[in-house]
Symmetry: C2
Subunit: 236 residues, 2 copies
C-alpha cells in the first residue's frame, strides 16, 4: 500500500481546500470581491459553505490565502527573469528584457499553478479597482520591492531619464497590463475582430513593444516646455 503523507498535513482525496481556492480565485477575478458570496464559491467548488469557514475562517482569510499562494512564485520568477535581463549587454536589448521580465510572469504562471498567472493578475487588477483593504496591505508590502527593483533596472538602462518619469511610465505599464486582462474583449471589438484581446502572446508582445517605446520617450520634467507649442485651443 502506498502511503506517503503524514496525517498532519493531508487533506481529502479530492482536495477540497484547493478546489475552494481555485473557485474563489476565478469568481473574484471576474466579478470582484463584494459581488461574490461565500455560498457562490462553495457551490462552484462543489463544497459546503461551512467548509469555507473551516479552511479559511473568513472571506477575507480566503482572499489572503489566494494572495499568499501566488505572490511568492510570481515574484520569484520575476526576480529570476530580472536577474537574467540585467546581464544583457546591449542597453537597448536590456531594456526590452527587463520590461519582458516584468510583463511575462503576470500573464503566465510562475510555478505549479498552470495558466493561473493571468487569472491572479486579473484578480489583483480588480481588487485594486475596488480598493480592497486586504489586497492593499499585501500589495504594498509584497509588490513594492519588486516594483522598485524594476524601476531601478529600467533607470539603469535609461540613465538620462529622471526617475520620476520612469515611475510614471511603469505605472502606466501596470495599468495597461491590468486593463488588458480585465477587458480583453474590448480589443477584439475595437479591432473589428482583427485582433484577439484574449491572446496572451499578442498582448505581451504589443505591451512590451509599446512600453519600451514609452520608456524611451524624452523626459519632460526638465521645466523647458518651449519645444512644443500649446496645441489645444477649442474652448470659447
Amino acid at each position: 500500500m502506498v502511503r506517503k503523507p503524514t496525517s498532519k498535513e493531508t487533506a481529502r482525496k479530492p482536495n477540497m481546500r484547493e478546489a475552494i481556492l481555485a473557485a474563489a480565485e476565478e469568481l473574484f477575478a471576474i466579478n470582484g470581491f463584494n459581488a461574490v458570496s461565500v455560498r457562490d464559491i462553495a457551490q462552484a467548488a462543489g463544497a459546503n459553505p461551512g467548509s469555507v469557514t473551516y479552511h479559511f475562517k473568513t472571506k477575507d482569510g480566503l482572499l489572503l490565502e489566494i494572495y499568499r499562494r501566488h505572490c511568492g512564485p510570481m515574484n520569484l520568477r520575476r526576480s529570476e527573469l530580472l536577474a537574467a535581463a540585467r546581464r544583457v549587454r546591449d542597453l537597448q536589448d536590456r531594456l526590452e528584457a527587463v520590461v519582458r521580465a516584468y510583463v511575462v510572469p503576470a500573464f503566465t504562471s510562475g510555478s505549479d499553478l498552470a495558466g493561473g498567472g493571468a487569472r491572479f493578475t486579473r484578480l489583483r487588477a480588480v481588487m485594486s479597482a475596488e480598493g480592497n483593504e486586504v489586497a492593499r496591505k499585501i500589495i504594498a508590502q509584497t509588490f513594492d520591492d519588486t516594483s522598485h527593483a524594476f524601476i531601478d533596472a529600467i533607470h539603469e538602462s535609461l540613465p538620462h531619464i529622471p526617475r520620476t518619469d520612469i515611475v510614471w511610465r511603469s505605472h502606466f505599464l501596470l495599468g495597461a497590463l491590468y486593463y488588458s486582462l480585465v477587458t480583453p474583449d474590448r480589443v477584439s471589438r475595437l479591432s473589428r475582430g482583427e485582433a484577439d484581446g484574449g491572446d496572451a502572446a499578442s498582448a505581451i508582445e504589443q505591451l512590451v513593444q509599446a512600453t519600451v517605446a514609452s520608456f524611451q520617450a524624452p523626459p519632460l520634467d526638465h521645466a523647458a516646455p518651449a519645444r512644443r507649442r500649446p496645441v489645444v485651443s477649442s474652448k470659447t
Copy 2:
C-alpha cells in the same frame, strides 16, 4: 421677487436629486458598486433611503443616471477637441493633439460638472473592473464610437502602423489612464514623494508623452521578428 423655475421641473431648494447623484458618484468611484449600499448613499447625501428609490427607482437606475449625466458632455468635449486636433498640420503635433484630446476630458470635466471628469472616469474604471452589467451596456454603445474616431484619427497620423497595433496601444492608453485615477497614491509611493500621483496636470503630461511615444513605436505585426533594432532614439 425672483421667479425663474416652473413648477414642473423644479426640485427642492437644496436639490436632493443632485446631492444623491453626487454622493453616489463619489462612493461608487471609490468603493465600487457592490460595496456601497443605498443607505450609504442616502446618508452621504443627507437624504432618506426612500428618496433614492423615489428619484431613481433602483440602484441600477441611479448608476444609469450617473452615466447619462456625464457621457454626453464628455463625448461632446472630446469631439470638439478631436476636431481641433485634426486640423493641426504637422503630423507629429497632430498626433500629440489627438492623444491630448482623448486624455484631457477624462481628467477634467466636460461641462457644468466642476472637476467631475476625473471622478466619473474613475467610476468608469471601477465599473469596468467589476464587470458591471449596466456600465458594460452603456460603454459599448456610447464610447465605442468615440474610441473608433480616435483610433481613426491616430491612424491618420501614423499611416504606416497597422490598425491592429493602434487598437492595442490605445487600449493600453485607456488602461494607464484608468489606473492613474484609481491608485494615484502608488505613483507618490514608488517615486518616494518626488511625484504627486494625484496631480492631474502631471498625470496628463506624463501620459500624453508616454503614449505618443508608444504610438510611434515600430509596428510588430510584420510576420518575421528576427533581431530587430528599434529606430527610436532620443539623442538630438
